[in-house]
């Protein structure tokens, strides 16, 4: 009796756990290297210097007193588990971002850095 019950439960678990698992990663451009930012000094560097080091920005925004160059990289990691009746799908997207602020003379005034792309992780949606 017990062995039949154990067999039934084992079969049920086996059937319900039949499925597949998918792990996916999507990287948009290469990660930003913080060491590249060292020669860029507010008050000295110009927009051309920034473009020379980091290339073309992802976005250029006109501000009230100059412009902003936005460099953005992203990493997305997705996890999917498909069982017989239940499926779980999760995705996490994190960014590396650098925003440079220039005055009207294209002189670098400030910049901010957020490097979070490496924090993207696989996981479940609960």
């Amino acid at each position: 009796m017990k062995s039949a019950l154990s067999l039934g439960i084992s079969l049920l678990v086996l059937v319900l756990c039949t499925g597949c698992v998918v792990l996916g990663k999507n990287t948009e451009y290469q990660p930003l290297d913080p060491t590249l930012l060292e020669p860029l000094v507010p008050g000295q560097s110009r927009a051309a210097d920034v473009s020379k080091v980091l290339g073309a920005p992802s976005q250029v925004v006109e501000l009230s007193n100059g412009n902003a160059y936005i460099y953005r990289r992203s990493v997305t990691k997705g996890t999917g588990v498909w069982l017989v009746l239940v499926s779980f799908v999760n995705g996490e997207e994190q960014h590396d971002r650098v925003v440079f602020f220039f005055d009207k003379n294209d002189l670098l005034t400030h910049y901010g850095v957020s490097l979070n792309a490496g924090k993207a992780s696989y996981g479940f949606p609960f």
Binding site: N65, F88, H95, R97, N116
Partner: protein, 197 residues
């Protein structure tokens, strides 16, 4: 030729079973009375043995049902839980962000690069944002689309995107002139989904 398997309990054993499980209509049997198994004839199963066989059969059917029902229902009943996160944690250090005093440079050092930069009438704005998605879906249906265009399909889902968002306004000179913060990822999913507002 089929072999007849004969159940041959001893007379003592049969007597002890009868004592342990008396039935209405049972008659006292002498211990030395010949039992049915003592004769080389095929035995007719008793009602109790029928019950036992039936119980075994029922257990077998239940086990098979547990095994087969999920397989048969796959594709007909599905539950999907989907989640997603975009962006890092957003916080509002209100004690370190002072309107009229904190500069753009200090904000960038404190919070890093914003998600969005824009221009408004009074100056510029920075937006820090994190989006959290959660979606539940339950589908009931018989996938007959390949056979019959009128396949039955019932599904219900609820998707909720919650944002943590910090908006900072600056004067053209780069002085913080306003701040707004919303942290909606703390709101319970089911409460938000069942709310009419």
């Amino acid at each position: 030729m089929n072999k007849v398997v004969v159940f041959r309990p001893t007379a003592e054993r049969r007597h002890s079973i009868r004592e342990a499980f008396p039935r209405a209509g049972d008659q006292e049997v002498a211990p030395d009375a010949p039992c049915l198994g003592d004769h080389p004839v095929s035995r007719v199963p008793s009602l109790r043995e029928h019950d036992r066989v039936f119980q075994h059969l029922a257990r077998l059917i239940a086990t098979l049902a547990l095994f087969l029902i999920p397989l048969l229902l796959s594709g007909c009943i599905t539950y999907q839980l989907l989640g997603g996160v975009e962006g890092g944690e957003v916080s509002y250090p209100s004690d370190r962000l002072v309107v009229g005093k904190t500069t753009l440079g200090e904000v960038l050092v404190l919070l890093g690069a914003p998600d969005t930069v824009g221009r408004v009438d009074e100056g510029d704005l920075l937006i820090y944002q994190r989006a959290v998605l959660k979606r539940n879906q339950l589908s009931l249906g018989i996938p007959l689309a390949d056979i019959w265009s009128l396949g039955i399909d019932l599904s219900a889902y609820g998707a909720l995107v919650r944002y943590d968002r910090l908006v900072l306004l600056f004067t053209p000179e780069g002085i913080l002139s306003g701040a707004a913060f919303e942290k909606s990822s703390d709101h319970p999913y089911w409460k938000a989904m069942t709310s009419n507002s």
